[in-house]
């Protein structure tokens, strides 16, 4: 199928792009980043924006840089660039591991970090990475620029705290000193994951000092597993098996995941437990090895 007609602009400045969003509000405009989620939706005519504002020519939206303990990635940075970046591998290995699980190379060659975050698919990897990392998302609108904490950003399936006239410009990821793991279950290699887990573990001697965990596939958005994080704080890191199992149990205790053709609620709960345990164990062992 083909998309319905729309008007199109490829502005060269962010101010111009924001201006176009406001000016053409009645056409229900959408921002075009890599298009790897939006264009399929338009081909199916599930999305029918009357105006597309393509960010590809906007200067300054792409790139990876470090400011002290923060890794900053421009919203238009292609996933494959993030995947190959030595800077990301060192500063945000959780993101590097997660990006490698997003669809296939040809999709990652076009798809962008900001596009995936703003699209906010509940099955996507990057929202879980942003949540576990306590990332900030930076958006610019007519009123100026603001930072939105990841915890406030994802408001529902395919919906975010971004106003209709705001554009996501960058993600700021605080560096995590310990170990990481992104693990997921999907029925076919590179398909959307049924369950995904982002795990960050920091050690305090032989004990777990701090844990940050996020899960996809169990709620309308990716969620932090704070009950599991509390269980892990202070746990013996030299043998984390029992603590990981207990934490995974605590994480799923209050969840009521949806059932669909990919997995029943019971299957999702069982998978979430298993993958949480695996994520915690892998992140802990990496934290121990990296010391």
């Amino acid at each position: 199928m083909k998309p319905p007609p729309f008007s199109y602009a490829a502005p060269t400045t962010l101010a111009e792009a924001v201006g176009l969003l406001t000016e053409h509000a009645e056409a229900e405009p959408r921002v075009l980043a890599g298009g790897q989620s939006l264009i399929p939706l338009m081909n199916f005519r599930l999305a029918k924006p009357g105006y597309l504002i393509d960010l590809r020519n906007v200067a300054g939206l792409s790139g990876i840089r470090r400011e002290g303990d923060i890794l900053i990635i421009g919203a238009m940075t292609r996933m494959s660039e993030v995947e190959r970046s030595p800077e990301v591998a060192v500063a945000a290995p959780l993101l590097a591991e997660a990006v490698g699980l997003v669809a296939h190379t040809p999709i990652r060659n076009s798809g962008t970090i900001g596009g995936s975050l703003a699209h906010a698919d509940p099955a996507a990897e990057l929202p879980a990475v942003a949540l576990a990392s306590d990332a900030d998302l930076v958006a610019t609108g007519p009123a100026g620029t603001r930072r939105i904490a990841a915890a406030e950003f994802f408001s529902g399936p395919f919906s975010t705290a971004l106003a209709p006239d705001e554009i996501l410009t960058e993600i700021r990821l605080p560096l995590w000193p310990g170990g990481h793991a992104f693990v997921e279950f999907s029925r076919i290699h590179a398909n959307f994951a049924v369950i995904g887990v982002a795990a960050l573990i920091d050690l305090d001697g032989d004990r777990i000092g701090r844990a940050a965990l996020a899960i996809t596939g169990v709620a309308p958005t990716a969620i932090r597993a704070t009950a599991a994080e509390d269980v892990l704080a202070g746990a013996d890191a030299t043998d984390v098996t029992a603590a990981a199992a207990e934490a995974a149990g605590a994480a799923v205790a209050d969840l009521t995941p949806p059932g669909d053709l990919h997995a029943s609620p019971q299957t999702r709960l069982a998978l979430a437990r298993t993958y949480l345990r695996r994520g915690i164990e892998l992140a802990t062992s990496r934290a121990r090895n990296e010391r």
Binding site: Y8, G35, R56, T105, P106, S110
Partner: protein, 165 residues
């Protein structure tokens, strides 16, 4: 609001083109309908099957979920650009010899994806090839002969390069 057209200029298989396109024109339709390059196939039209794979500035993309306007200023490579006159590209030769196709529908996308795979890694293992071509669906071959063809082409291309240098 009446949809307008956009002027794009791009290079396809080394030939420069300037064209007027509707913004909704998919790159694959631009290649097939406007330029007559029907070697690139259309399959699922939502980015899943990979038969429409072409290279944009050397990187594989799905041309069915890319607008032609997004390729403005880019260098596009399609299957038509692989052969040198009557001389097939090593990948084409190997797909033919190893029977890396039956119906052939996925072949143009497979060939372009394989170009990228070998550009990134001239000496991949069969496991690496299998993992990398998972981006492209083939419903006939079971991928075994495609994998063998890519490995065979890699060997030929390395040998040619050694002779050249």
């Amino acid at each position: 609001m009446a949809p307008t057209t956009c002027t794009i200029s791009l290079t396809v298989n080394g030939h420069p083109h300037v064209a007027e396109v509707e913004p909704r024109r998919l790159l694959v339709d631009f290649l097939r309908e406007d330029l007559g390059l029907v070697g690139t196939h259309i399959g699922c039209e939502h980015g899943v099957c990979g038969t429409c794979t072409v290279l944009l500035n050397g990187a594989s993309i799905r041309s069915c979920i890319t607008f032609a306007v997004q390729a403005d200023g880019a260098e596009i490579s399609t299957v038509e650009g692989l052969a040198r006159g009557a001389e097939m590209h090593p990948l084409q030769d190997e797909f033919s010899e190893k029977q890396g196709l039956q119906c052939g529908y996925c072949t143009p996308g497979m060939l372009m994806r394989a170009c990228e795979i070998l550009a990134e890694n001239p000496d991949p293992t069969p496991a690496e090839v299998r993992s990398a071509i998972a981006s492209n669906l083939c419903r006939c071959t079971g991928y075994q002969f495609i994998t063998e063809a890519v490995i065979g082409a890699a060997a030929r291309m390395r040998a040619t390069k050694e002779v050249a240098s």
